[in-house]
Amino acid sequence: MNLASRLAVIAVLLAAVAGCSRAVGTSPPPDEIRIAIPSDIRGTNPGVDRDAITDAVLAHVVEGLVAYDENFHVAPMLADTYEVSSDGTRYTFHLRTGIKFQNGARVTSREVKWSWERLLDPKTRFLCRDWYDGTHGIKISAIDTPDSLTVVFHLANPNYLLLEQMANFQCLGAVLHPDSVNASGHWIKPIGTGPYEIAQWRRGQFVLLKRFDGYRPRPEPRSGYAGAKQALAKYIRWDVIPDAAAARAALYSGQIDIVTGLQPSDLGELASEPSVRILQSPSIEWLALLLNTEDPILKNKLVREAIAHAIDYRALAKGATFGRARANPSVISRASPYHDEVDEQGYTYDPEASRRLLREAGYRGEPILLQANKRYPAMFDNAIIVQSMLRKVGLNVRLEVLEWATQLANVPARRFQLMSFGFSGRPYPLFAFQSVLGVMHENPWMQWQNGEALKLAERASVLPEAANRSKLFDDMHRLMLADVPMINLYGATVIDAVSDRISGYDAWSAAKPRLWGVDIRAPNGRPQ
């Protein structure tokens, strides 16, 4: 065979493969939604093998008694109604009737009790057991089932935040069927009550969810993780695409329908794609500058105040997010119903005051390292801008770009002076404060130790009226500003992109994709 013949054969083969691929389809099957996730799920055991992505996927498979709605109010989910005793020690949940697990069994109070007792058992290794064992105030002492549709949670001490904690989407408080584990208690798979069930998990590649046909949606409209969860698409495939550019390319080529967690810098490119819709929402995740209050230079409060006054927060938020976010000096997100005018109070941008404070502090140009990473572009961009602003007032700040794992390990080890950091969203203000406030030698992750603030946090969980709690959160915000243990910069922006094949998808401030109520358009443009 001469060279020309060989080339002809190869050309024919390539054309055949190309034809096949077209027949196989670069676009998803007509009854399947494909969404990109940056990493694989850690497992299928809710709250045990978890991270934010795992939680988001499993939230389609399992449900709790309550859930957060779109505006972060607690709403019933598996519970039909609930009551809290006036002393805050007894929570009674009346379950919805006719609800089934994905194995066809009816949901009764027995399974709810089993699920929660399993979560509270140290052998389960539920990562958030400390939320309910008294470490942070709430201590579940007993769970009763007076009848098949009533569950009563007894608390050892009065606490009015159990519902908020149960609705929290980190560590799902999932109600599961006991067949989710084997006779010796080892995990098999989640048999939950959600609108989808796991059909296939090809590790490192995708998780395929199949519609649970026995699902009965709630009558209320879809809202956050609450309300009606109509499984309109038969399949949802969560494709693991670690590279953000590859995920966008897959969206443009029609292989992926939804890409979440996009950066503001991607917006220009996305806008030029006519087949792509961009959805945005202010996020409850927030970006901050951590200050090591044990560092020889930064333990001087005057230096910390100087840093706080050297940053032009409006310019920083605008520059780092292409104008998509506004500065927010509080740990309470603007998307939260608890964000009020007090939370708008922050440090003023005053370079002169900053220079004066540095003189008073006796700062003589000692180098200060600012740590950041490139895995999370916002943290890096913030660090660049902050460094430039701090240098303008005479702070000798040097940037140290680390790999994410290294930077993360530096937080509890306190191996940093300044650090550009980000926090995942906690919808309830107290939980947001508790992610940074605590006794440092007991929990090295804590950034802020203040006795008065700790007392306010304790009081906040035992006050029955939400309005009174809100005042305490305002006081905590003022105390945080006074101590300068960290500087909150701005809330992130949720940016999701959706192909025109999809209808009904919406971005949510919780930065959690929700695929119920989402449909696939037929080629004529109408939902199928």
Partner: protein
């Protein structure tokens, strides 16, 4: 046979050194797999419990010997991140990498060897210059860039091939093309240089003197003798790529061994990184052995 046995005897000490080096290096990198695992849940008890259950609370030397002991029973341990058996994980991922790499190498050699031969034969003429220009171009352009161009043209604009994931032959076309293009340049250059040397040999002049045609001389006398250095190089490249074509796998979202290694390093998944290092060392040893054994087939003067 003695040569093979001698080589095999070197395997165990080599693997031991590799395992120890990787173990120490991984522990020297700052970062904690448990902190990455628990993520945004700052629960010191959960962190301590996870560390205990993974054996990470033990002294390094104890961790190493425990791991070595399980390796001797062909158990590479479990992934810190997913809990999967490392051997299963490597086998699953290697299969995908092997398919892409072997096909890409075959395609690259299929085009590069004749091209190098023709360039040497037409040395200094237009054909030679064109081949050299194209090969230098392929050599100079980074593989990720070629990958992005292929995605742009064949994925986004033409919609001919899928650009992400792995679910059949069609998914391998672009990664194979990308990898083949990236390697073909160096193969052409090497083959051309070897063929030029061989063309200067007396036995080639003798072959021409016998009245053999250009094609017969090139195929019967030049190709066999000039291919040996290219084969050595190809063996080395094959070993390197089988050990993980991480860039290509990332660009095309292929769940291969290279991506697994990179992800595991980022996640400080010590057992997986250690397992892959051992596996890669075995691949290198095997590829070297294979190339050494193929040499006498091409050049009868070589004896093992």
């Amino acid at each position: 046979m003695t040569y093979v046995l001698r080589k095999m005897a070197m395997v165990l000490p080599t693997l031991l050194v590799v395992s120890l080096t990787v173990f120490i290096l991984m522990r020297l990198i700052p970062g904690d797999p448990v902190l990455l695992m628990v993520g945004d849940i700052q629960n010191p008890q959960a962190i301590a419990e996870a560390r205990r259950s993974l054996g990470l609370d033990q002294p390094f030397i104890v961790q190493y010997f425990l791991w070595l002991k399980s390796v001797l029973t062909l158990n590479l341990g479990h992934s810190v991140v997913t809990g999967q058996e490392v051997t299963t994980l490597i086998a699953d991922r290697f299969w995908i990498t092997a398919r892409v790499v072997v096909v890409a190498m075959a395609v690259a050699l299929f085009f590069a060897v004749p091209a190098g031969l023709v360039a040497a034969w037409q040395r200094g003429r237009l054909a030679d210059r064109s081949i050299v220009f194209v090969s230098i171009l392929f050599l100079s352009v980074p593989s990720f860039w070629v990958g992005l161009l292929l995605i742009l043209v064949f994925g986004i604009h033409l919609h001919w091939f899928p650009t992400i994931g792995y679910a059949g032959v069609a998914y391998l076309v672009l990664p194979v093309a990308c990898l083949a293009l990236a390697q073909a340049g160096s193969f052409v250059r090497l083959m051309r240089a070897s063929a030029i040397d061989v063309l200067r040999m007396e036995y080639v002049a003798h072959a021409y003197a016998k009245g053999l045609s250009d094609g017969a001389v090139l195929l019967r006398h030049v190709l066999k003798n000039a291919f040996a250095p290219t084969l050595t190089f190809a063996g080395w490249v094959l070993g390197a790529l089988l050990a993980g074509a991480a860039v290509i796998e990332t660009v095309f979202t292929l769940p291969g061994l290279g991506r697994l290694l990179v992800d595991s390093i980022y996640a400080r998944d010590y057992p997986v990184v250690q397992g892959i290092a051992l596996f890669v060392a075995c691949i290198y040893i095997l590829m070297n052995l294979l190339v050494d054994m193929l040499y006498p087939l091409l050049d009868p003067r070589v004896r093992l």
